[in-house]
Assembly symmetry: D2
Homo-oligomer: 122 residues x 4
């Protein structure tokens, strides 16, 4: 079973686009999702912790994301979570990634004009 | 625990917008999500069944959806599932609804130009 | 993308077990999930609506569910949602099903003694 | 919106139980979830990467987990993901946690005898 997750959040870096040597388009950026909790004393929702992710998109989604999504915008993304350990010669750490299955601007925060690039039969 | 679900699919009806007597904006439309399955004999993914939902949005999201989303577009939506039984004098049935928490155009299918309508401090 | 969902709820019917003519074990039961909402006036969580599902399990999971799960117990189930229209000669309706990928007793409500039936290498 | 996730996996450490000074029971353990991918060349599912999580349970669920769940068992857990940065005087790192809303033995792998500890009216 894939570890599927859906998050909403703020695009925190300018999306970076590349094409692999075998022709696969990839676009990725950092996303921060600020969790909310209900403060019973205050009787209202307040900001709690922030989760940071690296969101990675592939193929047609990658091509459309680099042409549509900018730093500072709000998006909704659903995909498969990957917890990756990494190491260089002198450092190591953990990166939390989402390989996106679908991604769009979160219309809770604004409007969008959409232009289809994929044929209806696809 | 809410019955949270994320679906991608085709907007199948023109979004219908209304404002309740106490000032709550609501926008709703029908969404169809076509499931895929891997056909091992054919060695490729094929269309399987279709799920139909009524997607309902509220407040700022409702206002932005009616100005952004049109019939025939592809969207990603996350929210709370509601299975509602309904009855009129001579008919009854079941409606499957998603009360959306976030919704955007699915950039797997096209590009979007986003304009923020909610202040950054919100 | 499958319409994946996770729900917790009450097993509302005795699980029904069958084996298809080509040897596939299937166990299914009705599940009700009572949604909760925060009542700001009362300052506490209260019961809201109830969602009804038909949960269907296959293969080893089906065999283990029929030997473990009884009406009245609380479970957590994750799987793929299917909204199916059905019709007989004089009636028709909608059934909301979850094809389970995993299912267990919800330990928020009790304890469980687990016995492994599948080898570790599986 | 909470970053909700559902995972299935192997309990990799003996659950550790404690009660905070203000009386809150907490039980936590490490969980590994091995992702699968479909190998088209081999025409079968194979193991891919492994995600590691710290699963934390609270209150009645914590009390029942410590009496029911052992290292080496398979469970299904749903909850809220937290990506936490930590630092001591000479080390720092990232911990990926799931604050569980519900948790049970995954009956795909075995059978379970369930005993209710919470009254039906709860």
């Amino acid at each position: 079973m894939p570890d599927t997750i859906t998050v909403t959040g703020l695009v925190a870096t300018t999306p970076r686009h590349l094409v692999t040597s075998d022709g696969l388009p990839i676009t990725s950026f950092r996303l921060c999702s600020t969790l909310r909790r209900y403060d019973r004393a205050e009787n209202k929702w307040v900001d709690a912790d922030t989760n940071w992710y690296t969101v990675t998109t592939f193929r047609q989604l990658a091509t459309n994301v680099v042409g549509s999504v900018a730093k500072g915008q709000r998006v909704v993304v659903t995909g498969r979570l990957r917890v990756r350990e990494w190491a260089t010669e002198d450092k190591h750490g953990t990166n939390v990634e989402i390989d996106a299955d679908a991604l769009g601007h979160d219309l809770s925060w604004g409007t969008a004009v959409f232009s289809r690039t994929v044929a209806a039969s696809a």
